[in-house]
Structure formats: structure tokens, C-alpha cells
């Protein structure tokens, strides 16, 4: 280990691994990946179900298999990796303080940093779900870790709040391991999970999905004994009289992923309140020179295939940044307009070359709609969609010529016919 590197990548999950390989292939050799677990692979290590890589590899891989493809590439290139190493802080001038058992607390300087720390799960506590605090309450990912990594079952009779992908996957996983999943509750009128997961995880196992429902109370002194579930109104308030009681010993919360940006904040990198990740240019550089972000720490993705794609972009961009002498920017803002929750990147630097894929999510389920990207009154792009849902990230491709001709901010919006 040296005390400075050209590129330091914080996080050795799918984002960090792809960024490292891409940076290496772009010609950079002085790269270090810092990973807090004993192995790289990130959250994919506990995602033993398949469905990963359908877009990228045209195969349906299990999580560890997908991660393995990139781990092999990192090893083949001899890229330096420090595992069991936790980054404690990052400064805006790219000084990294980290800790492990052999080096103790140490600092490393980097010419460029790629943030790839992924995200954490929102907890029951953050939702203020009333009731007791017994054993048997888990976020879906923690339950997944117990089952798939530790080899233990968190419970036998389960109710799940949240029909996002992780909740759906865990409904199936618990059932396959012999538990009874009594219900999956979802506060929204739609599930944010991939359609194929609704079918393969709930329908195929006869697990009821209660849309417009939430858990209002958890019961049990030492261990969960039951939950109360209520229907909610348009303001997401429980409707009196609709209470259902389920006996259960386990409650799983799959209620949102939050990009893990504590280090980012410490480096004074501005974050977007919409994505909860850093504000970035199209090359994934944040508003602090030489600090890049990619993967779930930047925006919560649905498909790891797009995490890899985004991270490869960040890796290449970091190498470009190191070579660049002229750092002047010609900036155009990208804004989320009507019915759009967020657009990424939030800023376009016209001095950077290449096409730009705009990533965004809609705020609700819309049928028969048109999504447009406009600059002033000029329509840059337009796409009709039969259905657009918040749970599926959308993209629009802005070609280089359109980028060069931008005269003002770009607004992406959705209109229903």
C-alpha cells in the first residue's frame, strides 16, 4: 500500500469494480479499491437469486455470479484491492482516512476519487411505526444477510411492508426456506418492484399483495406476535375501520434505499435532495473537482446492469480528468419538470464530448403519456409510452450535436394524453 494513488475507489461492490476495470482499460494503472467487507462484490454477494445481467450479458445470473464476472476482471488486471478496510472520512481535497486491522488508521491521498459506497435501507424507526420493539423486526436486506450469508432463518410467520424488489425477493426467499409469508403490504397504489418479480415472487407462491395498505402497529414483548395493517387514504393516512390483524413472528421492512453519502457530505460535495446522491455532470463528476460518483450511492438503480454501465462511465471520466489540463466548463442545468421525480445528470458540461443518456423516474403511474426533453420551447426529444411507473428507471438519449446546441436549461417532463 502506498500513501497516494491516482484513482482511489471507495467501495468494491458492482459499481466500484466496474469503475476500476474501466479506468484500467482507459490506460490508468495507479488504482486502489477500498472495500469494508472481507470480499469484494458488495450487496450482490447476498443476492443469490438470478435475474442479474439480462441486459448486459443476455444471461440470467445470480448476484454472486454477476459480481464474479467483474471480480475476475479486476484480478486479471492486477488492480490493487484493500478489503476489510473501512473509510472513515474523505476531505474535499481528496484525502482519505481509513482503518483496518493491519495498518490501523491511515491516510491516503488521491488525485481522483470515485464514490461507490452504495446505499443503506430505511428502517422501521425512520417510519415511526407504532407499537413495541421486540425481536423479529428486520429490514429486508438484513433478513437476506442472515439467510444467504449466515445461513439462519429470521422467522417462521412473516408479514412484509414494501413491495419493492427487495421485499418481493424476500417474500419468495422466506417461503422457499419454509416460512409462511402471510401478506405483503404496500402503501402506494402500485408496486415499485419489477413486474417480473410480482409474478415470480408473489403470484407464483399465492402470497397476497395489499396495495394502499400499511402496517400501523407491531405487537409482542420479547418477540413479534402480530401486526395491525390498515388501508390508507390518498394522503397515506390509515382509514379507521379497515384494520386487519395478522399473527406473525417476523416483520420485514422493505421501505426504501437511501444512498450512503456520509463520506460525501464530509467532503462538502453538494447532494441533490431528489436523488439523495451527489449532483453530477454527465461524466459523473460531482461539483467537487476530481470526485466522481456512480452506482446506488449516486442514484438508486433497479438493474445492476445500469450500475455497471454508469460506473464504467465514471471510471473513464476519472482517467480523462487526470489527463485534462483545461478544466473550464460550459454548464447547462437539467431539471425535472412536470410528473418527473428527478433527472440525472443534473448538470451538463458542453465542453465534454459524447452523447448523454438522461436517467429519470416518473412520480406516479401514468398511462398513454408522452415524455419530452425541452430546451426552452424547443423539443429535443420526445417519447410516447403506454405506461410509465416510478419503479422503473427511464432513459432518454441526448446526442452530442443536440448537446452542443443547447442554449439554456433542459427540462424533462411528462404529459398525459
Amino acid at each position: 500500500m502506498k500513501n497516494s494513488y491516482n484513482i482511489v475507489i471507495i467501495g468494491g461492490g458492482p459499481a466500484g469494480l466496474a469503475a476500476a476495470v474501466s479506468a484500467f482499460d482507459a490506460g490508468e494503472r495507479d488504482i486502489l479499491i477500498l472495500e469494508r467487507e472481507e470480499k469484494t462484490g458488495g450487496i450482490l454477494n447476498q443476492c443469490i437469486h438470478n435475474g442479474f445481467g439480462l441486459t448486459r450479458f443476455k444471461e440470467s445470473l445470480a448476484g454472486p455470479e454477476y459480481a464474479g464476472r467483474f471480480i475476475e476482471q479486476v484480478e486479471a488486471r492486477g488492480i490493487e484491492v484493500m478489503t476489510s478496510t473501512t473509510v472513515l472520512s474523505l476531505t474535499e481535497d481528496k484525502k482519505i482516512t481509513a482503518i483496518n486491522q493491519t495498518e490501523g488508521v491511515f491516510t491516503i491521498r488521491a488525485k481522483a476519487v470515485i464514490l461507490a459506497m452504495g446505499c443503506r435501507e430505511r428502517s422501521r424507526g425512520a417510519l415511526n411505526v407504532a407499537g413495541t420493539r421486540p425481536a423479529g423486526i428486520y429490514s429486508a436486506g438484513t433478513a437476506q444477510k442472515y439467510i444467504n450469508i449466515k445461513g439462519y432463518m429470521p422467522g417462521k410467520n412473516v408479514v412484509i411492508l414494501g413491495s419493492g424488489d427487495i421485499g418481493l425477493i424476500m417474500a419468495r426467499r422466506m417461503t422457499l426456506e419454509g416460512a409462511k409469508v402471510h401478506a405483503v403490504c404496500e402503501i402506494m397504489p402500485y408496486s415499485s418492484g419489477l413486474k417480473r418479480n410480482i409474478v415470480q415472487c408473489l403470484d407464483d407462491f399465492g402470497i397476497p399483495l395489499y396495495l394502499n395498505h400499511t402496517i400501523t402497529k407491531i405487537e409482542g414483548k420479547d418477540r413479534v406476535t402480530g401486526v395491525v395493517v390498515s388501508e390508507v387514504d390518498a394522503n397515506k393516512r390509515p382509514i379507521r375501520g379497515t384494520e386487519m390483524h395478522f399473527d406473525c413472528d417476523t416483520v420485514l421492512f422493505s421501505v426504501g434505499l437511501i444512498p450512503e453519502n456520509e463520506l460525501t457530505k464530509g467532503a462538502l460535495v453538494p447532494l441533490s435532495p431528489r436523488t439523495k446522491g451527489a449532483i453530477v455532470y454527465q461524466n459523473r463528476e460531482t461539483l467537487k473537482d476530481g470526485i466522481f460518483a456512480c452506482g446506488n450511492v449516486l442514484q438508486v438503480h433497479d438493474l445492476v446492469d445500469f450500475v455497471s454501465e454508469e460506473s464504467e462511465l465514471a471510471g473513464r471520466s476519472a482517467v480523462e480528468y487526470l489527463k485534462k489540463t483545461d478544466q473550464t466548463r460550459d454548464v447547462v442545468d437539467v431539471l425535472n419538470g412536470k410528473n418527473i421525480g428527478y433527472v440525472l445528470p443534473q448538470k451538463i458540461d458542453k465542453n465534454l464530448s459524447g452523447n448523454i443518456k438522461l436517467f429519470f423516474r416518473v412520480t406516479n403511474t401514468f398511462k398513454n403519456c408522452t415524455i419530452t426533453a425541452k430546451c426552452g420551447d424547443e423539443v429535443l426529444l420526445s417519447r410516447k409510452k403506454k405506461i410509465a411507473v416510478p419503479g422503473e428507471m427511464e432513459t432518454l438519449l441526448l446526442t452530442e450535436d443536440k448537446v452542443k446546441n443547447l442554449t439554456g436549461e433542459v427540462v424533462v417532463s411528462l404529459e398525459v394524453e
Binding site: 490501523g104 413495541t132 421486540p134 422457499l176 418477540r223
Partner: protein, 476 residues
């Protein structure tokens, strides 16, 4: 046979136990749960009250002011976090302003120093986020904040280091008096005897009193619900902000904690059972009131909510006295707010004024009141950290990411007095699991360390003892 059995491992019992070890006495604490500090001592506001609330002439008033003066030194000895952040009682009307003057007067009669009424401008300077409807405030600079479970655990641990015995999972269900000694029986058949007994059983102190025939001591429960905000919002307020009290009580407060979270609460509801739980109404009430005290309360940064049941006696004052019918049996019953603040003063009083009449007190020259180590790893300097990691590499492994807690601290919590045997016990000692992800990331690792250290299977690890196993068995 012991000289003293202390029934109840909360902050009252804990500080008392430690005070007792300053003398050459054989002392024992019985605690019905799997760990100390699992009752109201872990689920309260953590305020070191200045002492203007308690009616003049009450034990509450006396011990509050005495305890307040002792708290800083006690915490320094035990390595427990204490901050003298100051209390502000905020008035929103002329009527409330009059109450503030009455509180000031009462406080001064109780011996509180530094009290002054400050106007809107001065209040805004101290607390920029105060509501625009705030009129003025009573500033009580001797008010402070402490971590109540840290204090309890450290007191018991230091007492044990000085020779005290701790018996957990020991629920006293029968007490017999034979030949000038008391024998306490646990629900599982164990028994211990002592010359004297002190009832510090919190919510259960009425039940314990009735076991020796003192049926005139009635203890009831009042539940309080709290909301805790992320440390990221830790600068939202710096003082402890109180509403002007009514007959119903002090009302909710908005305060920083010593760990730099923001705490909102508590509500006050009479309850019959002893299992604390939050309610949608209660939590909604907390949020609504907090929004009345301050502008832009960062409730989006909520990380958890909880409830605690405070024991109060129908006398509406502390019941700290020898049992009328049972010489050598003492009660510390109904110790509700300002119980935490009063704890060190109550301990001193019980030993020096009450027990001294029944026991010979000979100073224990070997008493060492300093609890070591007294640090959180993250607060050490880089040099100190690296010296520690060289000695013990387990300090080089971060287990709780949100609070930066190392494996070394978790192992220490399991091994040192009072030993942690569950995930929540580790949490109270180390803060692992108290961060924004609430153990989502670290719980499996904490559980694995407990399993390894206690040489038990992972499926035997509990959240908080008894029937609270985390897991039901192996997967297929």
C-alpha cells in the same frame, strides 16, 4: 449472606450499589431482566434538571438540586458523557410568563442558582430555531444532559469492579424475614439473603413493597413516547427546551442529547401494564408539540421512536424511607422525574442517613471510583487509536458503520462489568445499532461476535434476553 441486597438495576439501584461499595460491605443487586437498565432508566429524556420544577420542601426538590451539583464529577469519574447545556422553559403567553416567574421563585427557594427570565431577542440568540410565537423564557444554566443508560451501566460496572455482585434474570417474587435477615426468592427458585434490602424496583417497587406487607406504597405507571432525530440534525437546538409546565406535567421537550441526536418528547399517559409501546396518536402528539416549540423541526431525519414507563407514587413525591413494619428494609419507590438527576444524591442519603442506622459503615480504602476504559474509540486521537489497534487488532475493525464502533468495543462490552449478553445490551454500552440504519447493517455482525464470545450458537443470541431470540434456526 450479604449486608445489602439492592432490588432493581436501574439508575437508582446502580448509583446506590456503587455508593455502597465505598464501604466494607458485601452487596448484591438483583435485576429481573437479562441486563441492567432495561426499565425506565433507559427510556427517558436524559435531563439533569436544574430543580425549579419540584415543589418546595419535597424530597424531589432536595435531591434534584443536590444531585444536579454532583452529576458532573460523578460522570467524569465514570467516564460517562455529561453536558451542562442549560435548560430553557419557554412561555408563549402572558399567563405562561407569570408561571415562569413562579418557577424562578420556586427554584431559588429550592437552592437553584443562575435562574433568569430572558426576553424574545435573547432567546432567539440562544436558539435561532425557536418558534416565532415564543415570548420569553426561564434560563436555567445549571440544567444539563446525560446518557441515562450509560450512567446506569457505568455505575453498576464500577460497583462490580469494587466487589458488588450482580444477579440478572432474578425476579423477586417472595421475601421472607428470618432471624434479622431478609431472604429474597426469584421466580426461578434462586434465593439470596441479606441483613438489609433496598427496594429500587422502579415500576415494580409497589409490588416489592407489598411483598413485605407495605401495601400503602402505591406505584403507578405513566408512559412517555419519544422520537429521536439523526445526529446530522444535532445542531438544531443546543439547550433543552421545555414548554411551561401545567398541572399535567412538564410536557414535551426538544433537546440535544449527549450523543448529538435530537430528542423530542415525552407524552404522558396513564398505563396499567408494564410493556412500553408507542402509538400513532402519541407520536403524532410529539411531532405536533415539537413543531409548536421550534420552526422547521427536521422530522425527516427521524431515526427511531420509543416509549418508557415512568413510575410515580400516589404520594407524588419520592418514597425514600425505611419500611414501617420491617426494620432494615428500605424503599426507593416512585422515583419518577427528577429521579435521574437525583440518583447520586439519593444514593448518598440512603447509605449515610438510612442504612447507617442498621449497618456499621467502615470505609473501603480499596474503593476505586474511576471506571476505565472511559472512551469511545472514535473520540480517541489517531495516535491513541493506532496504539490500541497494535495491542488489540479487533479495534481496527469497524462493525457499526453509522456510529463508527469497532469490534474491540463490542468485545469489551461483552467482557467487562456488567457483561453484555444480548444485542441490546451491547447497543446500550457501545452505541452499535443506534445510528441511522438502526442496526440494519451491523446487527448480524454484532450477533456473531456475541455468539463467538459467549460460545453459543447464533440462533441462541437474543435481542434483549429471555424470549427474544433473533433467529429461529438454520436455513435449509
Amino acid at each position: 449472606m450479604f449486608d445489602v441486597i439492592v432490588i432493581g438495576g436501574g439508575v437508582i439501584g446502580g448509583t446506590l450499589l456503587r455508593e455502597l461499595t465505598k464501604y466494607k460491605l458485601r452487596v448484591c443487586m438483583t435485576e429481573k431482566e437479562n441486563d441492567v437498565c432495561m426499565g425506565q432508566s433507559k427510556a427517558n429524556s436524559g435531563i439533569v434538571h436544574a430543580g425549579f420544577d419540584a415543589p418546595v420542601g419535597t424530597l424531589k426538590a432536595r435531591f434534584n438540586v443536590e444531585g444536579n451539583a454532583m452529576m458532573s464529577a460523578l460522570c467524569a469519574e465514570l467516564g460517562v458523557k455529561y453536558v451542562n447545556n442549560g435548560s430553557l422553559v419557554v412561555a408563549f403567553s402572558e399567563e405562561e410568563k407569570n408561571t415562569l416567574f413562579a418557577l424562578k421563585e420556586r427554584g431559588e427557594k429550592n437552592g437553584v442558582t443562575g435562574l433568569e427570565i430572558i426576553g424574545r431577542e435573547a432567546l432567539k440568540n440562544l436558539e435561532p430555531n425557536i418558534s416565532d410565537n415564543a415570548l420569553c423564557a426561564l434560563n436555567a444554566p445549571t440544567g444539563g444532559i446525560v446518557c441515562p443508560y450509560e450512567l446506569t451501566i457505568a455505575s453498576v460496572g464500577n460497583a462490580m469492579d469494587n466487589g458488588a455482585t450482580l444477579l440478572t434474570d432474578f425476579e423477586v417474587v417472595k421475601i421472607e424475614k428470618t432471624d434479622g435477615a431478609y431472604t429474597v426468592y426469584s421466580a426461578d427458585g434462586r434465593k439470596e439473603s441479606a441483613k438489609t434490602v433496598v427496594n429500587c424496583a422502579g415500576l415494580g417497587s409497589g409490588k416489592i413493597a407489598s411483598l413485605v406487607g407495605d401495601t400503602d406504597i402505591t406505584v403507578c405507571g405513566r408512559k412517555g413516547e419519544y422520537i429521536l432525530l439523526d445526529r446530522e440534525s444535532g445542531d438544531f437546538v443546543s439547550h433543552t427546551l421545555f414548554f411551561t409546565p401545567t398541572e399535567k406535567g412538564k410536557g414535551i421537550l426538544v433537546s440535544q442529547t449527549v450523543d448529538r441526536n435530537i430528542i423530542l418528547g415525552p407524552t404522558a399517559d396513564e398505563v396499567q401494564d408494564d410493556v412500553p409501546y408507542t402509538t400513532a396518536e402519541g407520536l403524532g402528539d410529539v411531532l405536533q408539540k415539537a413543531n409548536g416549540m421550534c420552526k422547521n423541526v427536521p422530522t425527516y431525519n427521524t431515526i427511531t421512536s420509543f416509549a418508557g414507563i415512568r413510575a410515580y407514587s400516589t404520594r407524588h413525591d419520592f418514597v425514600i424511607e425505611e419500611s414501617k413494619g420491617n426494620e432494615g428494609f428500605f424503599h426507593c419507590a416512585g422515583v419518577e422525574s427528577p429521579g435521574l438527576t437525583s440518583a447520586p444524591a439519593i444514593a448518598k442519603y440512603v447509605v449515610e442517613e438510612l442504612l447507617s442506622k442498621r449497618l456499621t459503615l467502615v470505609k473501603n480504602e480499596a474503593f476505586n471510583g474511576k471506571r476505565t476504559p472511559d472512551y469511545f474509540f472514535k473520540n480517541m486521537s489517531v495516535e491513541e487509536k493506532n496504539a490500541l489497534i497494535k495491542k488489540d487488532p479487533s479495534y481496527g475493525k469497524i462493525v457499526c458503520r453509522c456510529e463508527q464502533i469497532t469490534e474491540g468495543e463490542i468485545v469489551r462490552a461483552i467482557r467487562e462489568n456488567p457483561p453484555a449478553k444480548s444485542v441490546d445490551a451491547v447497543k446500550r454500552r457501545t452505541r452499535a445499532g443506534m445510528g441511522r440504519c438502526q442496526g440494519g447493517f451491523c446487527q448480524p455482525s454484532v450477533a456473531s461476535v456475541i455468539a463467538r464470545e459467549l460460545n453459543i450458537g447464533l440462533e441462541e443470541v437474543t435481542k434483549s434476553g429471555k424470549g427474544s431470540r433473533l433467529l429461529v434456526g438454520r436455513n435449509k
